[in-house]
Every structure is written in C-alpha cells, then in structure tokens.
C-alpha cells in the first residue's frame, strides 16, 4: 500500500456507525416511515420477539433471538419492508408482559393489530382473547364461537398459528377432556403459563 493509500484509509473505531444508526428509528417514526417496530425482550419463557405497527401489537414470537431473521423476513414480506428495531416503541407491551409474569396483571390493555390473520382463524383468536385469566376452554368451544362447532381441528390449527400468543391466550385452550393439547411455543411453555395463572396445579 502506498503512502497515499495509507493516508486515505480512515481511522475510525470499529462499528463507528452503531449509535447514529440506532437513532434512525425515532426519526423514522416522526416522519411516519416506521411501519413495523420490533425488539427482543427477556422473559421467564425465554427471549420474546415483539413487533408492532401503528395499529398495535402484531406479533409475539418465542425464541426471539434464535428465530429473529425468520420473524423479520416474514413481517417484511407480509406487512411492509419498512421494519426497524425500535425498543422504545415496544415499552408499553414489555411493561405489561413484565407485570403479567409477576402476577400483577390479569388483562392486557395494549391495542392489537390482527392483520396477520383472517377469516375463521381470526374469529377463533378473537374468541380466545375473551377467555379470562386463570380459566380454560376447549378447541370445540372456540370453534363454536367462531361459527362452526364441528371445525375442531381447524380451530386447533388457528390457535397453533396465533401470531400473538400469551397476549391472545391460546394457552388457555385445552382438548375436550382436559389434556393440554399442543402449543406453538411447546408444551412446557403452555404448562408454565397455566401454572402461573393458577389454572393448573
């Protein structure tokens, strides 16, 4: 390398742009350009991926760190590629989740954005959102509430595809007869949440 080339090499610390890039999301929000804000938050059931739009919380995902790229790619494709990490925009959700896990919150107040679901799936999930803390219901009952009592398997699929678990409490829906049934986040998490709520010994 010539003397000139050496002089042209910039002497900047590594990752010099991290801070200035971190401030971008706030400015983007001011300009109305932040379509999807996300963060990864710690919780007793592991790191949670949290994403919201202007309407409300749109996705909550387990294994938030490990599956981060998967969640981001999917939101970019389904909602908008204007996706930015913006932890402050998720503060209200994070606060409510903290309170929930500490047993101090029985109901979530943050607005929800249902746009990742439609039709029968959305009707099942909206019915699920009304099952109170500490209580349980069945796939069959949710199918009935969604307008098709016989579509038990479809109701199970709808709950398995719940984009906002915990907040839309699909863990409260069990098999007829009382066995736990499946859970998107794995049966251990379902059990943990039901025990937390006192619905399970």
């Amino acid at each position: 390398m010539s003397e000139i080339e050496k002089a042209l090499a910039l002497d900047l610390p590594p990752d010099a742009s991290r801070e200035v890039a971190g401030r971008l999301a706030a400015r983007a929000a001011e300009e109305g350009l932040l379509d999807v804000a996300y963060t990864v938050a710690d919780s007793p059931v592991g790191p949670l991926f949290l994403a919201r739009t202007g309407r409300g919380l749109v996705e909550l995902g387990f294994e938030g760190q490990k599956e981060l790229d998967l969640y981001l790619d999917r939101l970019a494709a389904k909602l908008s590629p204007r996706v930015l990490e913006a932890p402050a925009r998720l503060d209200p959700v994070r606060r409510e989740l903290d309170e929930y896990f500490e047993g101090r919150r029985l109901d979530f107040d943050v607005p929800l954005d249902w746009s990742l679901t439609r039709g029968f799936t959305q009707r099942v999930l909206r019915a699920t959102a009304n099952v109170p803390y500490g209580q349980v219901s069945t796939y069959r009952q949710m199918a009935a509430k969604a307008g098709n009592e016989r579509a038990v398997r479809a109701a199970g699929n709808a709950l398995g595809a719940n984009p906002i678990p915990i907040v839309v409490p699909c863990h409260r829906i069990l098999r007829t007869g009382g066995s736990l049934g499946g859970y998107g986040g794995g049966p251990e998490r379902k059990e943990f949440l039901l025990k937390l709520e006192g619905a399970l010994e």
């Binding site: 002497d11 971008l24 939101l75 930015l84």
Partner: protein, 154 residues
Amino acid sequence: MGLPPFQTFLDAQRETVFRYLVAMIGPDDAEDVFQETFISALRAYPRLRPDSNLRAWVLTIANRKAIDAIRARKRRALPVADVPEAAVRDGRREDHDAWGAARGLPASQREALLYRFAADLPYSDVAAALGTSEQAARQRVSEGIRRLRKAWNE
C-alpha cells in the same frame, strides 16, 4: 425473494455509508447526512426492485445528500473553507488530511477513491456504485491516486 427487512439492509450498509460520508464531508456533518440518507432510503424502499444493488443504491443517495450538505454549508458561509485549492494546500501541510486534498480532484476520481478507500469496497462494488465497468473503476482510482500523489509532493 423480496426486499430484506430495512433493519437488515441498514445493518449491512451502515458502516460503509458512514465511512463514505466521514471522508466526503468530515465527521461533524457525517451523522446528520447519514440520517438524511437512510430516511430518504426508507421513504423509497418499498418501491425498490428486489434485485437492485442495495449498496450502490444507498451510496448514490449518500452522495446526493452529501452534495446537498456541502452546498448548504457554502450558503451559510461558515468559516470552514471548502475551496478545493485551499484543501490541496492543507493536504500538503498535514499529511493525514488526504481527504481534504482529494477534494481538489475531479468529482469522478474523488468518488472512485471514496468508494474504494473510505467505504472500503471491492472494485466490483466500486464499479456498481459508479455505474461503470470494473476496469473503468480501477482506472479512475489509479488516476486519482496519481494526481493526489502529484499534489502531495508539490
């Protein structure tokens, strides 16, 4: 495959863009112009073709925003002189202000040097950002170096 999430794009390009801007307009203005660049990119992003060269695209925006900033600075007539001749003179005195000296080069050569040495891009990306062939990009860089060395040694 569609466009990557903007955060992924930002993480992949931010360091290149920032280094480019520091060399082009100095560390004081680089942060503001960095924000302008990526806000402008974010505005246009959803309409971008997924097969676009994202690095070349964002560097073009950075270049435009930096030129805007330089013009605005001149209009404000701040005491920081941005006259190319003066910069070359400074360049001879202070041996680490090679970028000041590079401001005296023809724009096309300075651009090539910025992409190659400040943004630290391989020649294939330099060519994409300049919109030329790789061979033409190499020529511009070596011509820029030659002129700079001449100014340096005078």
